[in-house]
Symmetry: C2
Subunit: 214 residues, 2 copies
DNA sequence: TCAAATTATAAGGTATGCCTTATAATTTTT
DNA sequence: AAAAATTATAAGGCATACCTTATAATTTGA
């Protein structure tokens, strides 16, 4: 199921506005929040309910499904990481940062915000103290040295880039997009299967080759 | 006239794809670029032409108006600043950075990308060497010490924030959103008119109060 | 308990920006 | 100059996500 921007916004708002995880959030509160008509909110909620993002309890409100909550948490994490970046590195006041983060959170993929988390030193809270939820799913884009033996994946990037490394990567057939599986992890190297051959990648190179597991 | 995302994308693509400023870019090239049908391209071009972003020469192609070119240049600048940030600070390979920048360039206002330019040390080119166009219009968001005498504007932000400054700003009535005009610039302070009273803002405070001129 | 207030739902509309099919106009090629 | 290819334009459609108006169902409170 594809998660559109609007869907994420709704799920995020429900997560933020609800009192507890179990108490249904009245649609009127959502309408108030977005400034949309009750009818529009109702329409959207019907759709989200059908798609399995939330439970709709007529005349009571909505609660998030496990799926919906996961989306909300991931969104919140991205949002607060952007907020931290905007305030800490670009010195933008929080009130503005909040709104801008609301747009950026949809524009950049998780891979980018995780890089942002690295850059910011894995902050635990947003500028006004609210906690930043941790990553829940095993992160899909990790360097080759951290991919478990047996795992299959796809090369996503070579980072940091260097001309030498790029040449080597090309020779190995490990260019972004290629499917690989990890055969063995040694102290000094990682052995991967690519197509029908095996390649021994030295550790310092493996650190720069990023894999999306599947 | 409001510049939607799609409009910016079209103007940016025309700027990038054209051979020279005068030679019309055939619609077929645009269709190829976006992967849209000729009819859709034609529809959109009609609209952009009516709105004054470009000149449409039937059977020949399109050229940008001054207005359209300004939008394209501003977009290009934002794009390349994001690219630099993504590659230099987040170590994302260029191929990916390009696509991500294509989304970020629409999500953040110019004020943010100008902050980014500061952070990056005003880079002159994007990661693969293409020049980053300079800001053309006098930048709308500048600190109070740089606003010329006589200029009118609106307070956009207090940056960097400090509890003391925020209290002072509140007392002066200089909160974000307030309309001000600059009466006098002295070495040690700036005198501004706010509503019907005048306020003397010490230089170190004026450096942290940002104004959008109009 | 019964009226008032809230909430649900149906029906029809708007804007954006894409689509296809079909026909007309113009340019290019032979 | 005529045929072929390209380009223009009309007409009708789709999805998303909002809108209003109007009616029905349910809950709340006096």
């Amino acid at each position: 199921m594809v998660v559109g921007e609007r869907i994420e916004d709704y799920l995020g708002a429900i997560y933020r506005l609800r009192k507890t995880a179990d108490s249904p959030l009245p649609l009127a509160v959502l309408g108030e929040h977005f400034g949309f008509s009750p009818v529009s909110i109702h329409e959207m909620i019907q759709k989200l309910s059908q798609q399995g993002w939330l439970h709709y309890h007529p005349y009571r409100g909505v609660t998030l499904t496990e799926q919906g909550e996961a989306v909300a948490l991931a969104l919140l994490r991205r949002h607060r990481l952007w907020e931290r970046f905007l305030t800490d590195m670009l010195h933008i006041p929080w009130a503005e940062a909040h709104d801008i983060a609301g747009a950026l959170e949809h524009a950049a993929p998780e891979a980018v915000t995780e890089r942002l988390a690295d850059l910011l030193g894995d902050p635990a809270s947003c500028p006004h103290g609210a906690p930043i939820p941790p990553l829940t799913k095993p992160y899909v884009d990790q360097c080759l040295t951290r991919v478990p033996v047996g795992a299959q994946g796809r090369v996503t990037r070579i980072t940091p880039e260097s001309a030498d490394l790029l040449r080597a990567v090309q020779a190995w057939g490990l260019l972004p997009g290629s499917r690989v599986s990890v055969i063995e992890r040694r102290q000094d190297a990682v052995i991967v299967q690519i197509e029908d051959k095996q390649v021994c990648v030295p550790r310092e190179n493996a650190d720069a080759i990023w894999i999306e597991m599947f």
